[in-house]
Amino acid sequence: MKEGFRQAMAWLHTWIGLLFGWLLFAIFLTGTMSYFDAEISHWSQPEIPLRPLDSGASVELAQGYLQQHANAASRWFIGLPDERAPALSVMWQNPGKPGERGTFVRKLLDPQTGAEVQARKSLGGEFFYRFHFQLQMPYPWGRWLSTAAAMVMFVALISGIIIHKKIFKEFFTFRPRKGQRSWLDGHNALGVLILPFHLMITYSSLVIFMSMVMPVSILTSYGKDTQAFFNDLFPAANAAKAAGSPATLAPLRPMLAVAGEQWQGGRVGRLVVNNPGDANASVSFYRHGGDRVVHTPGTGLLFNGVTGELESESALHAAPLVIAGSFYGLHMGHFAGPLLRWLYFLCGIGGTAMIGTGLVMWLKKRSLKHAQTGVLPFELKLVQVLNIASMSGLMIAVASFFWANRLLSTGFAERSGWEVNVFFISWGVTLLHALVRPGRSAWREQLGLGSLLFVGIPVINALTSDYGLTVSIPQGDWAMAGVDLTSLAVGVFLGWAALKTFVGVGLPAIAVGQTKRVKPIAGKPAPTAHEVH
């Protein structure tokens, strides 16, 4: 029976791994990039100047700007600049029609002058961040799909652990240059050695959207008053409604100073002003994400907007709420310093590679039968096309986004939309390319092109802007240089991979490395899932 269980889990792991692997690869890759979203945004909008940080001055400038441009808004949002994100971000929500959510307007200000930054419009790292959980689909469908994918990932991870019989024996085992065996060793190593990260990232992504995907218990516990649940979870967001009578908003700068004192050296990350200019105005101060691991976006300090006095502090101390907040915080990694952030990134790359190796193995094993004819049946050809487009194709799309950022004219108003269009158009082209070209050639050509594009990113940066490596390194602008250097490294890796397709983890290697297929002899138990691999 145990053999049957492992076999069943192997079947499950292989099939859900395949069907959701393409999507999960994209989610993992863009999610991994998101750990450096601020750095990517800095690269994408290099015109935003790096100013010395002064939160008091920034808040004052933001208030001035918002009072001038958004005094009829229902809410103001102020995001203070920090060492990773140089701009002072302001956003406001226009009052919506009854029953509708008001529209949001977002601007980036220079923290020194308070004027709007004159930078090329670009979503930058924000594009990849939002893509990884919204998948460019209309709200809320993308989130549902990505959360469903996370649940599938969870099942795939656990089933993978179950079927990896020699998880301890082969903990340190990686045997390169042995064809199919190497792919499996690599897939297992990336899975097992980085397992804490994989489990954390997968489970936490479920926790992040749990109110959306598993809301029933909110209804049964709170009845019609579901808002009360969110007030319990996000006490700081529960601001009084507008009174309707006008009153001047108190200066924010002194409130900021009080907030800093309350948190004894902790930093303020952002502020929300509710009903500015109204008698019931209130200001919520939220702590900077970098201060601690637990991420509780709903807690902060509440100030009276008219008198400027501190009214209350909301904090979540209950264990379940801290646990949920910890999952959220661990997923986002806001607290990570540069070294830990790189480790997050590398773990994410490992997860992405784990998925990729799985997809490659799935096809390799089943195309063996067709090695003689060289022609794959329709369903395997489909898998091959999707493998190529979702992996090397996606890499080309990512590189194209960066190329578009540097090549599109800086003054072009719709350029941020067009950067995204270039991403999807190039991805589509790689799909078409994979459809018409034979498998090995398609891989080689796409990996080769991807290599050229990535290596070209620092080159195009240097040629079209004043922020190339020869400038950014001496200036110590490591965010800028980091994106260039990482692109270079990715390009080298893709080039190596492209060369490998020539040498070929080809037929002879597969035949040699392949584990013997044991046919069940009468009375003998069927081979375990592990051996069949």
Partner: protein, 109 residues
């Protein structure tokens, strides 16, 4: 190719492709995993929210976090059990019990 899903015997057609009954069984298990699994997970969260001795918000949050573990077990069960019928029964029966437990707690106690 190794036949998964326990000891269920698979009838193969002459060409070697899985039979219609096999495909139907797989689809049945998948549907059980997705829908009955969700039902079981949701009921787990509801019962946890009701029965855990903590304030409402905490109980709801705990219930939601636990529900994903229930969903995991439900999915694994659907493919580990011997027949597709067992997949459904194995999820719907506990769901009914949880539902009954919730109803008792809600309207009788």
């Amino acid at each position: 190719m190794v036949c998964p899903l326990g000891k269920k015997r698979v009838v193969r057609s002459k060409v070697g492709a899985p039979s219609a009954s096999y495909r139907l069984a797989v689809i049945s298990r998948v549907l059980a995993a997705i829908f009955a699994g969700y039902l079981l997970a949701a009921l787990t969260s509801i019962c946890a929210a009701q029965w855990l001795p903590m304030p409402r918000a905490e109980a709801v949050v705990t219930g939601m976090m636990l529900s994903f573990l229930a969903y995991l077990v439900a999915v694994l069960w659907c493919f580990a059990c011997r027949t597709a019928w067992q997949a459904w029964v194995g999820l719907l029966l506990p769901s009914a019990l949880l539902g009954a437990g919730f109803a008792v707690g809600r309207w009788l106690l």
